[in-house]
Symmetry: C2
């Protein structure tokens, strides 16, 4: 394409902002907020990056209101940054060029549930737990579970996945259709509700994972699944991380339809024990879950047990009661916070990569050795059934040499994953922190093609500027 | 976007073509063909539309050769039409503005099979049967099965699906990565080989289903699946098409992981009996197949049997032996040809739509009544687990009133599906014949967004012009 770079970025002038804020206030009243505390809260969130607050935060309640806000911003070329619940890890909601943060937390309606079609349509601000609570009585659930109780709009925007993805796929696979506001304020519906279609370009998948750089997602139509008849879960310790990964590889290759298969290294297990008051064996662990019929689940568990044994895993401990399972998975979900507790005062450089499953053991193993050589405290946890794992180096941000070493470690981690045909992020997204890796991952032609799409849809570069593309 | 329409279309001048053909001949020798027979064979193929042959057909052997051809065409703004095996049904390979047909039938290399990662990379001209033959000894298979032994490049380009999609997804779900030649001749690789990624825009899904209008797919990396341990299949007659559809709806809603569930109406059953020398009961039939472990398959079959019974289906006949199954599925795959045999000399206006599963029975039922009222011979067959079905009106093309009536029937079929939140095509693609429905299906904003993408990537509109977008 030889695409020129994106439209140049600069902060809007004070005068532009002043009149925009006045317009927003006259239109949205107290739903337009400019206090420093709220603006900062809409900045970096969970990243270690410097907080770059937006100039103003607005809380729309409908797609049409989002459209109004975007039109005002488009007219004055003011950046627009979508905000869900702020659980992203890579600086997605920072506002490096200021602008308007569109907070979707008031867009909470569950618009339709088509039980008979196993789908539903919700506003972008509904969180995954809110949806699942709503669905429980209907025997349905939405499986994508990134850990945090993220908004479904945010999850679509970052192509989130999480613990259940190995069985149910990621947001890529579970979004049927999107309603979105484009950079000029137009409202688009990307697809019909049919389960499949060959009509035209896949606008849904174009927006899933676009991180707010092509438009703001306002309504999400999702694929639902029946609650499994039977669920069984348990933990299985292994002599080494490599042995655990080898058992995962064999499980996946065998086609066993495992619902969850999560790795915690011994450091992360220790952290979870402390944080969640558990007494898990402090060895590399696999947390597994099986969904199906009673006989199906039993069969799966038996097969998995045999694979685990082959690599020295065991003894297997079942969490047969629902509350035991909940306790286990709650501990897993709190792993991020548990890890942070290992070094109070430090900040996590939490990151993720994903490699083809055959390279998983090698990649995790090399990473463990790098952690040891770098003298980092960096627990590992991962959705290993997808070849995806997280590393969370805990860094003293006041020690610039340590910060540099932490960043260099993440760089090596990504380079290692890319060298194994993997990706710089399996599920966190690019945001600000992974931008520098995209050229190595995709090469110049693919990256230029992405830029071409961005320029065509957002010619003035007002949608979440400074994310995905550095220039 | 308020996108202006696409670049104006016109046939290249004779002089331009003459010098282009000379260049192609000097570069590709006898792999440059201009004979009328070969050009016509690369025209409409299976559609009833008038044959619009390209000016020249070239047979490249590598991605780099495709790139060379596209660069020559780009320099002179000559249309480029990709050609797989020509089994598309909606006029995808017609050349309404002339130009160069790029026939991928010499691109037959299976480049990599990563058994341990359940993926493979093949050149675009490899067909699904060729791939599956290659994979058989490795215990793996590629499940997407549109009936025809289509090329995998063509299948990706039209977002094909078919009988197994209800269990294994469509090409959207089973393409890991693509190598493609862009309209300027640049070669792009859309993704890494990791099972999931949140890095950047989903270029893979942008190209899947783009029907050659954004680039020419030259290599396809596909997700593979382990051959199921146990397979069982059978047929189940129903008192009416509606009863069969209701059984399908209940099966899908229950979450039963059925591998195939195909509807043949009684007209199609009759056609298949004649064509394939079978003695299936001439009633609406479901052909089903279960994949899994021995116990899993037995459990699934039992559950399906109960659902079928609830709607008056049965008796169920098992095809326990592999050769019986093959005979049954071969008959299903030959349904297109069988249907044509119902009215020798007539041409099929074969088409497909897809609706949310809850509307399937209603949509098929209304369509049956429309067929009767229109006095058409139009057998129905469908991948009903996805809400997707095909209708094949057999029309005497010399009778203009009948042609008009056939076209009007297809229009009503599509309008019916759209009114039920369905799509104008579940798996055949847009090509030339479904272009007129896209505005009703997507609305002006989404369609303009698609056009914006097309213009950005192919500013001179040389890639398969006159497909997907009429202007």
């Amino acid at each position: 394409m030889n695409a020129p770079h994106l439209a140049p970025l600069e902060r809007p002038s004070e005068a532009t902002l002043k009149s925009l804020v006045a317009e927003l206030q006259s239109r949205f009243g107290s739903r337009t907020v400019t206090s420093a505390a709220v603006r900062e809260q809409h900045g970096h969130t969970l990243t270690w990056l410097a907080n770059q607050p937006p100039d103003v935060v607005v809380y729309p309640e409908t797609t049409e209101e989002v459209s109004e806000i975007v039109r005002l911003c488009a007219a004055t070329r003011v950046p627009v940054i979508p905000f869900g619940i702020g659980s992203s890890l890579e600086g997605h909601v920072n506002a490096p060029f200021g602008g308007v943060s569109i907070d979707t937390s008031r867009m909470k309606r569950i618009l339709h549930v088509h039980e008979e079609d196993l789908d539903c349509t919700v506003e972008a601000g509904v969180t995954r737990k809110e949806l699942n609570e709503f669905l429980r009585d209907r025997g349905l659930f939405f499986p994508i579970d990134p850990g945090a109780d993220a908004s479904l709009g945010g999850m679509a925007a970052t192509r989130a996945s999480g613990t259940n993805a190995v069985r149910y796929g990621t947001m890529r696979d579970n979004v049927v259709s999107l309603r979105a506001v484009l950079p000029n304020g137009d409202i688009v519906q990307t697809a019909r509700r049919a389960r499949k279609s060959s009509a035209g370009y896949d606008l849904t998948r174009l927006l899933v994972g676009s991180e707010g750089t092509l438009g703001i997602l306002t309504e999400v139509t999702l694929r639902l699944h029946g609650l499994p008849e039977a669920v069984s879960a348990g933990i299985c310790p292994f002599p080494s991380v490599k042995a655990a990964c080898d058992a995962v590889i064999m499980t996946i290759q065998s086609g066993l339809p495992i619902a969850r298969i999560e790795l915690l290294d011994e450091v992360m297990v220790g952290a979870c024990n402390t944080h969640s008051k558990l007494d898990l064996p402090e060895k590399p662990l696999l947390l597994v879950e099986f969904h199906g019929t009673e006989t199906g689940v039993a069969e799966q568990a038996e097969r998995f047990g045999a694979f685990a044994e082959e690599f020295g895993g065991g003894p297997f401990e079942w969490a047969t009661k629902a509350e035991e399972r909940t306790r286990l998975w709650t501990a897993r979900h709190n792993a991020y916070w548990a890890a942070n507790g290992l070094r109070p005062g430090a900040k996590p450089l939490a990151t993720d990569v994903c490699v083809p499953i055959s390279r998983l053991a090698e990649c995790v193993d090399e990473t463990k050795r790098d952690i040891a050589a770098s003298r980092l405290i960096a627990p590992i946890v991962g959705h290993v059934g997808d070849g995806n794992f997280h590393v969370q180096p805990l860094i003293d941000m006041d020690d610039s040499a340590e910060v540099e070493a932490g960043i260099a470690f993440v760089d090596r981690l990504v380079e290692r994953a890319l060298a194994m045909e993997g990706t710089c992020t399996g599920e966190h997204g690019v945001g600000q922190k992974k931008m520098k890796f995209l050229e190595s991952e995709f090469g110049p032609v693919a990256l230029d093609l992405m830029r071409t799409l961005k320029r065509a849809i957002d010619p003035h570069n007002i949608m979440n500027p400074g994310k995905i593309f550095s220039v």
